[in-house]
């Protein structure tokens, strides 16, 4: 059986996803190009040996449209023979791109590939690509379409997480992210983004608020109360799917949900043989990946089910995993996952997550995969499970194992 190895992982810092964010002034193409260039340069890659580049991107319109992966390959001066394809599995696109790369490598279709992602949310706003799920009555009503925030608040209500619970988790995310930056835990992966002249534009995650406290969060108004209770009244819609919910408790707000940011990431994945031929040292082995569909109205419970699916497939149990990484889309999503598997919080999202650092939709999966490669090495651990909740009710997960 062919194996898929991770040889390297890079990511850009995450810029605030608004027009005052540092990365607002560079294009999405430039972000993707810089990630691809960095992974080539630091590994002295002969890019003609790369078969394909998979980049996650959730709003593939405007400058992110028309297969940004292939365009970035060309812009990064990769060999002309390197193909590229844009991947959309909503928030898990970046991880899905890596899973596809690994699968292609394992199947023999590719020897060396890159998985990654890009999302310039300050430039191509979330939702720009339209789509029928929320707009077409024939599917919106059938599936009780409700925005993610309503789903997250419903998870909090249904599984009993109070405003204090979710805020406490958010404070922890900020503290862990701040500590990780202070200790240089991300330095192996971070490549500063350069501007049009080539000067450094951003070298750190600028969305973080390390001095966040329970008090400072307490002053924030819930973000989804209005659209839930008043116009257009999504609470009543999601209650049609969950009649057990007497009233949705709106606990999420900007401080305990993932931040909107810009960023890109790339992960180099290949066979043992091609790695050796290129003089690369494998860092981790991809043991397996999986995706699953889950109930779409609540939308964000997929990680529980995909985690179980993947661990079962790999014949593994809780004890086999040392580090657990779930994208912090909303605090309650993580809390529910931890509750479902009764996980030790000390092993979950150990370096903080998207609540502190932000969630550049198409790139995040590849970013947190890279973070786990670094952390397995730093903490001297064996295996990590990486997963994300996904729009329209899905979950995607990957299990990796450190090699050296």
């Amino acid at each position: 059986m062919r194996e898929a190895y991770i040889y390297d992982a890079v990511r850009t810092p995450r810029g605030k996803g608004k027009n005052t964010g540092s990365l607002h002034e560079v294009t999405a193409l430039s972000l993707a190009t810089q990630a691809l260039s960095a992974i080539r340069d630091r590994n002295s890659l002969d890019t003609s040996k790369i078969d394909d580049v998979y980049l996650g991107c959730v709003s593939p319109v405007g400058e992110q449209g028309s297969d940004i992966a292939r365009i970035a390959v060309l812009n990064a001066n990769y060999a002309e023979t390197v193909a590229g394809v844009q991947v959309d599995r909503f928030c898990a696109s970046g991880l899905e791109a890596c899973n596809i790369a690994a699968a292609k490598v394992k199947s023999g279709e590719a020897e060396m590939a890159i998985g990654g992602g890009v999302e310039a949310m300050s430039r191509v706003p979330m939702g720009s690509s339209g789509g029928s799920w929320a707009t077409d009555p024939s599917i919106a009503m059938k599936t009780y379409f409700s925005p993610q925030g309503i789903g997250a608040d419903t998870i909090a209500t249904k599984y009993g997480f109070s405003r204090d619970d979710v805020d406490a988790y958010a404070v922890q995310s900020q503290q862990r992210a701040a500590k990780s930056w202070k200790e240089g835990r991300f330095k192996k992966s971070i490549v500063a983004v350069k501007d049009q002249m080539g000067a450094v534009l951003l070298d750190h995650d600028e969305h973080m608020r390390p001095d966040t406290t329970m008090q400072s969060l307490a002053s924030l108004e819930p973000s989804f109360k209005m659209q839930g209770e008043m116009m257009p009244g999504f609470d009543a819609v999601i209650q049609q799917r969950y009649p057990e919910v007497e009233r949705v408790n709106h606990v999420h707000h900007a401080g305990n949900s993932s931040g909107i940011v810009d960023g890109a990431a790339a992960v180099l994945i290949g066979t043992k043989e091609m790695g050796e031929a290129l003089g690369l040292k494998p860092r981790a082995r991809i043991l397996g990946g999986a995706s699953i569909g889950s109930e779409p109205a609540i939308m964000l419970t997929g990680p529980e089910f995909v985690t179980k699916k993947l661990l079962d497939k790999l014949g593994m149990g809780k004890k086999d995993i040392d580090l657990w990484e779930l994208n912090e889309a909303f605090a309650a999503v993580v809390l529910r996952w931890v509750q479902a598997f009764d996980l030790d919080m000390e092993k979950v999202n150990v370096n903080g997550g998207a609540i502190a650092m932000g969630h550049p939709l198409g790139a995040t999966g590849a970013m947190i995969l890279g973070t786990m490669v670094d952390e397995l090495e730093r903490a001297d651990k064996e295996r990590a499970l990486i997963t994300l909740c996904v729009g329209a009710g899905m979950g995607t997960a990957t299990v990796i194992e450190r090699v050296n």
């Binding site: 339209g130 707009t135 009503m141 257009p232 999504f234």
Partner: protein, 735 residues
């Protein structure tokens, strides 16, 4: 052409007079649809015609839309036609699309066409107007312009869902169509679907002037390069689409396919050119018309309501009973409400109570409503005063003299009712009717106090009287057809819908309605989380959750009834776990329901339910905490089947005999899932008696004999006979 008359004037402008022969109102009949094709051809090909103005030949208005009665009949006939499903659908499409095609041909005839509207234009009538290039309406705020199809479970199928959003924007149009709203001319003009408003009587002149000045008119959407500005994938349009879906989901609980399909027509139609859009609309029209919801709603909410509102269940052979004066006994909440609706309908009303003060208090109820209506401009001060002057509050029974009818509305106490009956009859003419407003006491028993039991009848009003449209008439053993006819005339006079039932404990409505909260209690006893019970109750189409209903009725009242029933059947009520629960809540916990501010619910200061009382779990352990879709479906069935089976029992026992009464009564009296067309239509159209009985048997096996179908239903199921086939003789006679 029998429906349209053409007069070409000196300028070459054809005045088309729309005038369906033999009817007081223009509707789009099959004959009109045939004529339209010819009409359009004439306008298009007659070289003498330079343009056209369409006006109505009726005083009553322009056109009221499709002929729903005809459609109801046609629907029944079509079901029999043997064909493959595909052929059947395509045939239906052709039939339905022909009107769309005719209007589209009118719109693209190459000559300017304007509509002159002097009276209401609704549904297919307004759609004809929208297909004209220019629309002139008379300046009269009483003129209704709208697309009411959604109210009877249909959608506008002749371009309404396409032209209106293109004219006034998706959001405004969606709101109007989804709710079936109508607008007066000035508002229609500011919205943008009427071009000009002129003095009444001047519309034809104005329309002709426009036609003369605009020889090359075409519709905006036929101008080259036209694009819908607010379709679903435009910045503003996307938000409106998402919000619209959520709002309709919330308001309909997905029980009304018409509303969903209207949104689909708009969503899909705004993305394509008008011709494709009209085909899409016609397909959704057929899809909608074929649902049991549309069939049930058209029949019950339109055809039957109209028939009953015209005395469709009145015994024949008796002259109309003129109601000029009515005495109301008891000026409590019900009596006061009855006095108000009578006075409003022009009936001289004597409002009697034991003290002048109580009687005056009863009249004050009308005063409050009148004051509010006057301040809101709903009626004039003079009309209000006239209304109030018709009510005479008094303690003097001799004022009953000359009354055509007496409504007794005193407390539910047999002795008290007997006393006032005797007292009143002393002054009542021999031909006058004595009506007792009771919701539970058997009429035959009450009639024993009467010297004229033949003239005695139950007249069961619902609270609040001024808002509830139904009156349940209960025939006692001796009540004559003549008395019933008179009582129906009375109900029609006060503009309510009468249904006729026979005497039985709880009659029809109270008896069947009670099964809904009762099933809620069964679920509670099983340990199903109260939130699930309440939410599913509302979501399956009932106006409130069953526990909230119990709270509104009063838990102490329910306990009292439970105790009485136990006594009657010589059982210890405490042995019944339901009664046990009730007595714990009422007697131990002091929670009597909404009126006491605490019951199954906790109530806020505004008197509205704040949350389900958490203390309930002290008594009943919650065992079922989640409600996946399969369970929701099961609970929905339990709620609806339980009520329907009780209705079927009423038929078996002869309590009710006309399915129209049963259907309309179930919707108007206790709000049974209106999308179904009522309890009977739910059985007939959503299941068919055969499948219904199979499912009821399964429920009975699983949950108990309360779901056991009565023998009548089994007999019908053996032939898969519907209630309307078996009991619908009156309906056929009326048609």
């Amino acid at each position: 052409m029998e429906n349209f008359k053409i007069d070409v004037d000196a300028d070459g402008i054809a005045l088309i007079t729309f005038d369906v022969p033999g009817r007081s109102m223009n509707t789009i009949t099959a004959s009109v649809m045939r004529d339209l094709a010819e009409l359009v051809k004439t306008i298009k090909t007659d070289a003498n015609i330079k343009g056209a103005v369409i006006a109505s030949g009726k005083e009553s208005g322009f056109c009221a839309g499709a002929d729903l009665g005809e459609m109801n009949q046609r629907g029944a006939a079509q079901a029999a036609a043997p064909a493959s499903e595909d052929e059947k659908l395509k045939k239906q499409f052709e039939q339905s699309f022909s009107l769309n095609r005719a209007y589209r041909d009118l719109e693209t005839c190459g000559k300017p066409v304007a509509a002159a509207i002097e009276g209401l234009a609704l549904g297919g009538g307004l759609e004809m107007v929208l297909a004209c290039h220019y629309r002139v309406a008379a300046d009269n705020p009483k003129i209704k312009l709208g697309l009411p199809e959604a109210k009877v479970g249909l959608l506008p199928g002749a371009g309404g869902t396409q032209r209106l959003p293109r004219l006034i924007g998706v959001q405004n149009a969606a709101m109007m169509i989804l709710q079936g709203q109508d607008k007066p001319p000035q508002e229609a003009k500011s919205l943008g679907f009427i071009n000009e408003v002129v003095a009444p009587g001047k519309t034809i002149e104005a329309a002709k002037a426009w036609v003369k000045a605009n020889p090359k008119a075409i519709a905006p959407w036929d101008v080259k390069g036209y694009r819908v500005k607010d379709g679903p994938f435009t910045p503003g349009g996307a938000m409106a689409a998402v919000g619209g879906n959520a709002m309709v989901s919330k308001q309909t609980n997905l029980n009304y396919p018409a509303q969903r399909n209207i949104l689909s027509c708009i969503y899909e139609g705004m993305q394509v050119p008008i011709d494709a859009a009209l085909r899409i609309e016609s397909r959704y029209f057929i899809k909608t018309a074929n649902t049991p919801q549309a069939k049930g709603m058209i029949r019950s909410l339109f055809v039957s309501m109209q028939a009953l509102g015209k005395g469709g269940n009145r015994p024949e052979g008796f002259p109309t009973y003129e109601i000029k004066k009515v005495a109301v006994l008891g000026a409590g909440l019900m009596g006061a409400g009855i006095a108000y609706v009578q006075a409003k309908a022009g009936v001289e009303t004597v409002l009697l109570d034991v003290s002048q003060e109580s009687a005056e208090k009863g009249k004050a109820y009308s005063q409050r409503i009148v004051d509010k209506d006057v301040s809101r401009g709903k009626i004039t001060k003079e009309k209000g005063e006239e209304l109030l002057a018709r009510i005479t509050p008094s303690t003097d029974y001799s004022l009953i003299k000359g009354a055509d009818l007496v409504v007794e509305a005193v407390f539910e106490n047999v002795q008290l009712k007997a006393d006032v009956t005797k007292k009143a009859e002393a002054y009542l003419a021999e031909t006058a009717v004595f009506g007792s407003n009771t919701s539970t006491l058997p009429i035959t028993g009450l009639a024993e106090a009467s010297v004229r039991p033949k003239n005695f009848i139950g007249i069961h009003f619902f609270s609040p009287v001024e808002r509830m449209g139904l009156v349940e008439l209960i025939r006692g053993k001796d009540t004559t057809d003549e008395t019933l006819a008179k009582a129906i005339d009375y109900v029609l006079k006060i503009r309510k819908t009468p249904i006729v039932v026979n005497d039985h404990r709880g009659f029809y409505t109270s008896r069947c309605f009670g099964t809904y909260p009762a099933e809620g209690v069964e679920m509670l006893m099983e340990g199903i989380a109260p939130a699930i019970i309440e939410n599913v109750g509302r979501q399956c189409g009932m106006p409130m959750g069953p526990l909230e209903v119990s709270d509104s009725v009063g838990l102490d009242t329910a306990l009292k009834i439970g105790k009485t029933n136990a006594e009657l059947s010589q059982q210890d009520y405490k042995k019944d776990p339901r009664a046990n629960l009730l007595s714990w809540i009422v007697e131990d916990k002091g929670r009597v329901g909404r009126k006491g501010g605490k019951g199954y619910y906790e109530y806020g200061e505004d008197g509205k339910p704040a949350r389900i009382w958490p203390g309930l779990s002290e008594k009943i352990e919650v065992k079922v905490k989640e409600c996946p879709p399969a369970m929701k479906e099961e609970l929905t069935k339990r709620f609806l089947f339980r009520q329907c089976i009780e209705v079927a029992r009423c038929f078996e026992e002869g309590v009710i005999t006309d399915p129209r009464d049963a259907d309309v009564g179930s919707i108007l009296a206790w709000g049974f899932a209106p999308y179904s067309g009522g309890c009977i239509s739910y059985m007939d159209l959503f299941w068919g008696t055969k499948k219904f009985v199979e499912e009821a048997d399964r429920l009975a096996k699983q949950y108990g004999p309360r779901f056991e179908p009565p023998k009548l239903l089994r007999d019908m199921a053996a032939k898969n006979e519907s209630f309307y086939e078996r009991f619908g003789a009156k309906e056929k006679k009326a048609a």
